[in-house]
Symmetry: C2
DNA sequence: CGCGTCGTTGACACGGCTCAAGCTTAGTGG
DNA sequence: CCACTAAGCTTGAGCCGTGTCAACGACGCG
């Protein structure tokens, strides 16, 4: 069955219409959107959704997939080396965008569902934001563009983590990133959130071995910086964690 | 004085008008450009150029700099941790674009000149490609967009390097990336190119210590995969190097 | 000629990896 | 309801890749 962790709210699932919330919330924070644009987003999330189970492949490496929005569930971009080593390049959370409108380059990494996911067709959004008008002219265009730029910021954070931080610092940094992103989507509180990831997935994201992730998590527990059990994280000492990770919040849009 | 390595062609420097070549060549490869668009690029490169010496700061961390094109010289995007650790997030080569048109997010990393550099104002190019028309409608728009997407591909390569490759593999991979990018700009042959970087800079890019970069370079020399002296690289066994690095060429545009 | 930057080398320490085993939990079928 | 199983988590021992510290050499510039 599906991981129960996915919707910690309970077994009855989210109320109808709630699918649009993460995307609306996120894009609405990146730029101010008109009611028509909000409606267009809601429409996209109400439309026929693509559903994949955990471990499902959203698109393979080298593909040029149509734009989609992640409505619920967790996914990642992942690259594999010839000998089987895997690196998770980025996590994809509810409200994130996956493909790009053509013209695009063949994606250098595959996208994989980490939990059950629901995907909405984002083609109409990109058409309105990028194709019909210059991206600077509509609120939707600015929001989509800001989402792209934010993704690049996250990639650079990931480079710094992997290049210059210790295992302990990497974990702290990743937890803070995920918390902030989930909060933007309305899926995290100030100190806690659901983390439906195995330690193996964390290892592939942090460039570490599973064993070492485990030891690092335990150390962080012993230091009373976090609690982590049953797919739930609680950040006990946010300031200490930020200082360990050298974390600065992901910036928003600026004209 | 300036590093002689910069223009290995000779002391008399490039012929007049040659400044536009890397940018024209690169953008022209990413999308087919009209004569008017080629002229606009040439015009931008002829216009008043900003010059910085090696180690000069192109823009600080957190800035939102106007779009510029790197006309000659090498630069990088770099991020520093509170305790002084440095990570080079990306190298910037002739023909690369640096800022983004507003709306933009505050850059999470500073841009630094690694040699003497010349920068052209790319505002008119972005205006024509992004602001006045949707980016899909003009060749220039498609080229600029492809350049952005390519940068993202390079970032993901960097993540994989740092996350899952050994020092030896990282070096191999970086050399192949630089060779291909320089060739696109018309600055590398099939097997050799100028590499005006100290081992300390390589270390900051590869997430290694200077000492270990040195040992790794030497090992690669002993293995007769490369030659590297006086800022010149020669790839002795391209196929072997590709296989070590698990390298695949940077993709071009696809509709 | 002296100084600074960069490259090189050796000795040693340590963070993180591998291998291997045991444990816990949840799902599955009888 | 209870084995049985598979996946995930935990722990220990030992090794290896890479970092640190320190010194020296090579080169170019003033």
């Amino acid at each position: 069955m599906l991981p129960v962790r996915l919707h910690p709210g309970g077994s009855e699932g989210p109320p109808p219409g709630a699918e649009a919330q993460p995307l609306q919330r996120r894009l609405g924070r990146l730029a101010s959107l008109s009611p028509a644009e909000m409606a267009m987003i809601a429409e996209a999330c109400r439309g026929p959704l693509r559903e994949l189970p955990a471990r499902g492949e959203i698109h393979p490496e080298g593909a040029c997939p149509p734009p989609a929005a992640l409505v619920s569930g967790w996914a990642c971009r992942i690259r594999m080396l010839a000998d089987g080593r895997r690196q998770i390049v980025a996590f994809l959370l509810p409200g994130d965008l996956i493909g790009r409108p053509p013209p695009c380059l063949p994606a250098p990494c595959a996208a994989l569902a980490l939990t059950r996911v629901l995907l909405a067709d984002a083609q109409p959004l990109f058409a309105a934001g990028f194709t019909e008008h210059p991206p600077t002219q509509t609120g939707l265009g600015r929001a989509l563009r800001a989402a792209e730029l934010q993704e690049e910021v996250l990639l650079r954070d990931q480079v710094v983590r992997l290049g210059r931080q210790t295992a302990y610092e990497r974990l702290a940094s990743l937890l803070l990133e995920l918390r902030q992103r989930l909060e933007t989507a309305g899926l995290a509180q100030q100190r806690g959130f659901a983390l439906p990831l195995t330690q193996e997935v964390l290892a592939d994201a942090l460039g570490l071995s599973v064993v070492h992730v485990n030891r690092t998590v335990q150390q962080m527990r012993r230091d009373r910086l976090i609690e982590l059990r049953g797919g739930q994280v609680i950040i006990l000492q946010p300031e200490a964690l930020r200082s360990v990770a050298d974390w600065q919040d992901i910036p928003g849009l600026r004209d």
